[in-house]
């Protein structure tokens, strides 16, 4: 008897679907948005947005809290007065922290999205998931205008997380409510 794989492939070939013309990409691949649009659209999702020049100063807001930070965030971010939690951390430790501070890989102005790819300053995915508060630092040069531009800057084989506002649901009467399983507060620092 043929394997499922062989049989499915044979049935696909048997369907003899004719080839098609190449895809016409007549849509806008560039976009024009910058910092302002990004800030506006992040805020639209009820995330908190600040445009700052000095990150350590802006991090004063974390004073007195127990904050998770990947080991490779810039040293100057690890300001005094904060209890910094570093890996290795268990799921329980992450869950019981007050929040997490990370950088990001790319941001998207059009959609108000930040993208994490697990590279420098971001840590593994669980870090930004279990703490109830996520503070994300976005450099202006990391902001792509459009979704196409952002995808071009990303390496698909890395573990990617696209974040647009705090966790939310539209499952009750199709109205959006913020705050379900992911961090209920998302704060974004745009470093200009």
């Amino acid at each position: 008897m043929a394997s499922a794989k062989e049989e499915i492939l044979a049935r696909i070939r048997n369907a003899k679907v004719p080839p098609v013309a190449p895809t016409v990409r007549g849509y806008d691949r560039e976009g024009t948005g910058g910092v302002e649009l990004f800030a506006e659209r992040v805020a639209d999702y009820r995330a908190i947005v600040h445009v700052v020049t000095d990150v350590p100063e802006a991090l004063e807001r974390l004073k007195g809290k127990r904050i998770v930070a990947p080991h490779d965030v810039p040293a100057e971010w690890l300001v005094d007065g904060v209890t910094w939690l570093h890996e290795p951390l268990t799921i329980e430790e992450l869950d019981q922290s007050d929040g997490v501070l990370t950088g990001c890989a790319v941001a998207i102005a059009d959609t108000g999205t930040i993208v994490l790819d697990g590279s420098e300053g971001q840590g593994r995915r669980a870090l930004t998931l279990l703490p109830d508060y996520h503070l994300c630092v976005v450099r202006v040069d990391q902001i792509a205008a459009s979704v196409p531009e952002a995808l071009q800057r990303l390496e698909p084989t890395r573990p990617l997380t696209f974040i647009s506002g705090p966790s939310a649901t539209s499952d009750i009467e199709l109205n959006r409510v913020e705050g379900v399983h992911g961090p209920r507060t998302l704060e974004v620092l745009i470093v200009g």
Binding site: A126, V147, L151, D171, G182
Partner: protein, 472 residues
């Protein structure tokens, strides 16, 4: 061959199911409110895009490209997933897919698994199959959880509990979670958060679907809102993803189209809160065992149909449900399948693959052919055309009926103007049934019309009779 669980066993035909649903005041009210809300929000989200039509065309073309070389792309996907440490499984039908997943759960000694909302697993009846095999699947999407705790059935692709309003949800949560909670959506969401937290933190195995799989990189993509998806995709040691074989896109670049089309069409957001992308296994981050189960379950048969195969372009956004005047009134359960609404009316019968099944054969007729679905479809599925195509199949399968005899007679009359004119004259005698220029009651099948509508009395003179007299 086993019955395809895409339709629920024992479901009545659409008109019979609709008869019940139309009388359900609460259902009618809930759907009117929810679909009205999302229609307006979607229109706004799409309205701010200047290149929406170009994106739709590109979406259509990319998906058609996938369908034209599905074998090659699936093999490419398998190769890239395998190269990154994943294991790929193939399943011809629901039974085979369910057995693969159950065996994988047993191999991990898992008695309980967490699930991300997935149409593919709903289609194959995975939860029931796992339960029968001693593995309890916990739905973690809020709407899926509402359906699961309410021992209910889904009625919408995106929001399976769309037929429930806040106070009904509150009642279900209080009864099944044993908590006191208000009917404020934020409080209900909080109740779900608390209820599921422990499950997420302790689950060893998660099961997901996939919105997209990128053939050239082997990346799998899941779009969600609540973070339950991230929990399932990140915390457990083992991840099993079940996806239909048509969920592919050829390249990473192609996602730039769908990540714009899907969120605006489904939840009417510029971007959904969370999108996760993973490729096989990443050491030190997330599940260290990854299984991808590719299911056919009627798709290759659908692919053979040159008109019907466009249903396989579907990205499960639900926009067609939200604008459908039939769906809005009958709700999703009337379709007797996990795929309701306009897309369900063309996809379900094709996946069932048997137009002798009266329930499946009734679905293509559950439409007034108004075309609102085609207008909003982000991948431009011409649903009305597929509906009429499938109606022809249903008629053929039924053979000789009173209707087919009447239709043949009518066609015979219309083929010759002289016969048509004689019929007109005979028909105009019906004006003697009329009072005050209207007929209020006709014998069957005209009674189906006159139950709610009058018929105007036929005039004593047709237009052609007038023309002949005055202009001929």
């Amino acid at each position: 061959m086993a019955r395809n669980p895409v339709t629920w066993l024992g479901s009545p035909t659409f008109p019979k199911a609709a008869h019940e649903a139309l009388a359900d005041t609460q259902l009618r009210q809930n759907l009117r409110k929810a679909t009205g809300t999302i229609r307006g929000r979607r229109a706004a989200a799409v309205g701010e895009m200047t290149d929406w039509e170009q994106l739709r065309v590109a979406g259509e073309q990319i998906k058609d490209d996938v369908l034209s070389r599905l074998d090659t792309l699936l093999l490419q996907l398998e190769e890239s997933v395998t190269a990154r440490g994943g294991v790929v499984h193939w399943a011809r039908d629901a039974e085979e897919a369910n057995k693969i997943v159950l065996d994988l759960c047993r191999a991990e000694n898992a008695r309980e698994v967490v699930k991300v909302k997935s149409m593919a697993t709903a289609e194959i009846g995975l939860n029931e199959a796992l339960e029968a095999g001693g593995v309890h699947a916990i739905e973690t999407d809020l709407a899926e959880l509402i359906v699961q705790l309410g021992d209910d059935r889904p009625s919408h692709i995106l929001v399976p509990a769309i037929h429930r309003n806040r106070s009904e949800i509150r009642e279900i949560f209080q009864r099944r979670m044993g908590v006191e909670v208000s009917d404020e959506p934020a409080d209900l969401a909080e109740a779900a958060r608390v209820y599921l937290r422990e499950k997420f933190l302790t689950a060893k195995v998660a099961i997901s679907g996939a919105n997209f799989a990128v053939a050239d990189s082997g990346s799998i993509v899941v779009l969600e809102s609540e973070g339950n998806g991230r929990m399932c995709l990140t915390l457990p040691e083992t991840l099993i993803t079940v996806m239909g074989i048509e969920k592919l896109v050829p390249t990473w670049q192609d996602l730039e189209v769908f990540l714009q089309l899907l969120p605006r069409s489904s939840t009417a957001e510029r971007m959904n809160p969370y999108t996760s992308v993973w490729t096989g296994v990443t050491p030190g981050d997330g599940p260290q065992r990854f299984h991808l189960v590719l299911i056919d379950n009627g798709r290759t048969a659908t692919l053979e149909d040159s008109v019907g195969r466009q249903a396989l372009r579907c990205i499960r956004c639900s926009a067609c449900l939200n604008v459908c005047p039939v769906y809005e009134r009958t709700g999703g359960q009337s379709y007797g399948s996990v795929y309701p609404g306009p897309i369900g009316a063309i996809l379900t019968p094709q996946l069932v693959g048997d137009m002798h099944d009266p329930q499946a054969a009734s679905l293509p007729f559950a439409s007034s052919l108004c075309g609102a679905c085609f207008e909003v479809c982000p991948v431009r599925i011409d649903i009305p055309s597929v509906l009429t195509h499938l109606r022809a199949e249903a008629v053929e399968a039924k053979g000789r009926t009173a209707e087919s005899v009447a239709m043949a007679a009518a066609a015979w009359v219309f083929r010759e103007a002289s016969r048509y004119e004689k019929a007109q004259k005979a028909g105009s005698l019906a004006r003697f049934l009329a009072r005050d220029g209207r007929i209020t009651s006709l014998p069957w099948p005209g009674s189906k019309w006159t139950a709610s509508r009058d018929v105007p009395a036929p005039p004593s003179e047709s237009f052609r009779a007038w023309w002949r007299k005055n202009r001929g």
